[in-house]
């Protein structure tokens, strides 16, 4: 977020406002993000040459890298670590095997984790390029297979839009970008990065709302229902409009209300989201933030796994997985 902050300060003409040491840290972060963007674009060119032809639709770039190639506002100052790529499930093993011959392989995993990834996750274990050291997350869905109502990724791949001047990749439609971002945030356990994720959503909603108006909001509602992500989109739009004053039309919020959970649950969860999102510059997070994050971590597991499987997973992680060496 530091690089983003610098971008915003410059855009508003306030770059000189912060004290010198603060300015230097923001600028340094911006330099890093700028360089990372260049590196990611170069990496995409290499990857394009290494990917096999894929049956059933172009490979779809997800999240940060999609924002970069679409040149969305702020994408270039958003620190983007690795490439997220979505391919049809039927093709994923073949793609991974073919990439292996170009130098992509995954790190050592213990057999349980390996099996777990293969059977239940929405991606294969992260791949790393032997020489370039870049990492690639190869997905076949946007959420794990174990959620009660897994989304239908075929819809996202079919409708994905080719990138002008790029013969290989596509990016999700505006509605699907928002849905993916929301699905990821509310089903995931990384609440220490939530400020950035909410800010991503805010930027996407503002940008697409301005560009496409009602057509975008209509499509978002239709697709949220079709992808079984109504609940997540509901939370996303509600939290964004409350915290960032994102201009979400009142009628859209009203139409989303049918995806809302019962009022008491909603109230508790929204409070937790708020607490867990707070960022603290230094020192350990205060107890309330830490506790909210812990609860949401439990919730994310609860959403992602049926109870019996969750028990089995926790048992394995507690007693059977090799321990990290304690010093």
């Amino acid at each position: 977020m530091l690089a983003t902050l610098w971008d915003l300060l410059q855009a508003q003409g306030h770059a000189g406002a912060p004290p010198e040491p603060v300015r230097y840290q923001l600028w340094g972060a911006w330099l890093l993000a700028r360089r990372r963007t260049t590196a990611i674009l170069w990496e995409l060119r290499c990857l394009a040459a290494e990917l096999p032809v894929i049956e059933g639709g172009r490979p779809v770039l997800l999240k940060g890298v999609a924002y970069i190639v679409r040149d969305l506002p702020g994408a270039r100052s958003r620190l983007c670590g690795d490439i997220d790529l979505l391919v049809p499930r039927a093709e994923i093993d073949r793609v991974e095997r073919m990439l292996y011959w170009s130098g992509w392989s995954r790190g050592e995993l213990d057999p349980y984790d390996e099996q777990y990834y293969r059977q239940w996750m929405h991606q294969v274990p992260p791949l790393q390029h032997r020489r370039r050291r870049s990492t690639l997350d190869l997905h076949h869905n946007i959420l794990p297979e174990t959620v009660r109502q897994p989304p239908e990724p075929a819809r996202l791949i079919e409708r994905a839009e080719p990138i002008p001047g790029d013969p290989v990749f596509a990016t999700p439609t505006p509605a699907h970008m928002v849905i993916h971002s929301a699905a990821h945030l509310f089903a995931d356990s990384e609440w220490d990065k939530a400020v950035r994720d909410f800010y991503d959503l805010d930027r996407l909603l503002r940008h697409f709302g301005e560009q496409h108006g009602d057509a975008f909001w209509d499509e978002l509602l239709t697709e949220a229902q079709a992808m079984a992500c109504g609940r997540q989109v509901y939370y996303a739009l509600r939290c964004c409009s409350r915290w960032f004053a994102t201009p979400v039309p009142v009628t859209v919020l009203a139409r989303l209300r049918r995806f809302a959970p019962a009022a008491p649950i909603r109230a508790v969860l929204e409070r937790l989201f708020g607490l867990a999102t707070r960022a603290h510059a230094a020192g350990p997070s205060p107890r309330r933030t830490a506790a909210s994050r812990a609860l949401l971590f439990v919730r994310s597991h609860w959403i992602k796994m049926p109870p019996l499987m969750l028990m089995r997973h926790l048992f394995h992680k507690a007693f059977l997985s090799p321990r990290e060496e304690s010093p």
């Binding site: 040491p21 340094g28 330099l31 890093l32 260049t38 590196a39 230094a282 020192g283 010093p327």
Partner: protein
Amino acid sequence: MSVVADLPPAELRDRLRGPGIDLVTGRFRTRIVSGLPEVTTGIAQLYRDFPVDGPTGFADFHVAVARPRGLRRWYRPQVLFRFDGRSVFKPLPGNQAFPMLEWGLNWCLTTQVHHYLVFHAAVVANGERALVMPGPPGSGKSTLCAALVTQGWRLLSDEMALLDLESGLIHGLARPVSLKNESIPALQALAPDAFVSAPCHDTLKGTVAHLRPPIDSVERVRTPVRPGWIVFPRFVPQAATELLARSRDTAFFGLVSNAFNYSALGDIAFERTVDLVAQSDCHDFSYIHLAEAVARLGELAGAGTRPVD
């Protein structure tokens, strides 16, 4: 702003334990919290002339050196270095609290700072110009740096060169110089009056002690210097002291391979490194005897700039 020496020992101890102190090294402000006596002593002795205040306002780094919770607080005690509340290294034996603070501060600068191009190099200055000595651990750059600063050179850093991305000038920190194993007695023989802290034995790097920076270097720390000479030092037993001109292209690659954030910064790092090399006389230097090495580098500085290539 007062300096560490102005604080009565009890006050320094209490503030370090309580809210912490802001220690100012060059352009960086570090907020340090520690209840350990080794840390208090180390700061009092080695950072004696450094500005201190706070904690107040913005600090670049928030660090703590503390005992771990649980058994290892009491039984064969250990120390932890915390950055923003998180422990970033494996714990070390309890007596190594001060070296751990120093290593931790180096870690902060080499991993968290991106508005400078940072090289793994010792930097001293003669007049207005910097002598940059890049090299991996073991090349003898710290020892040479310590020797030079006891003989009148100004200390910028024994560990990292901070190259300003805008001005191309080199900034210093003037922090204590780390000495290892045989270099401790060697330096004491060369400069019997210099203050060297009590050695800390059996660390990962062997026996470690620190040289207190000359007060003059500490007071001038905020004045950056122009590039002058780049010398790649090598401590070679049974060899003659030898200073050989090095071509600018191999000097460029020598610098890049000793940079911490060259690839993270990209094109701007390339341009600044080219500028740095273009403005410097470049040499390889093998040495064994400290006094001889200091004399040879003094001649180099006295000779002025020599056009190379």
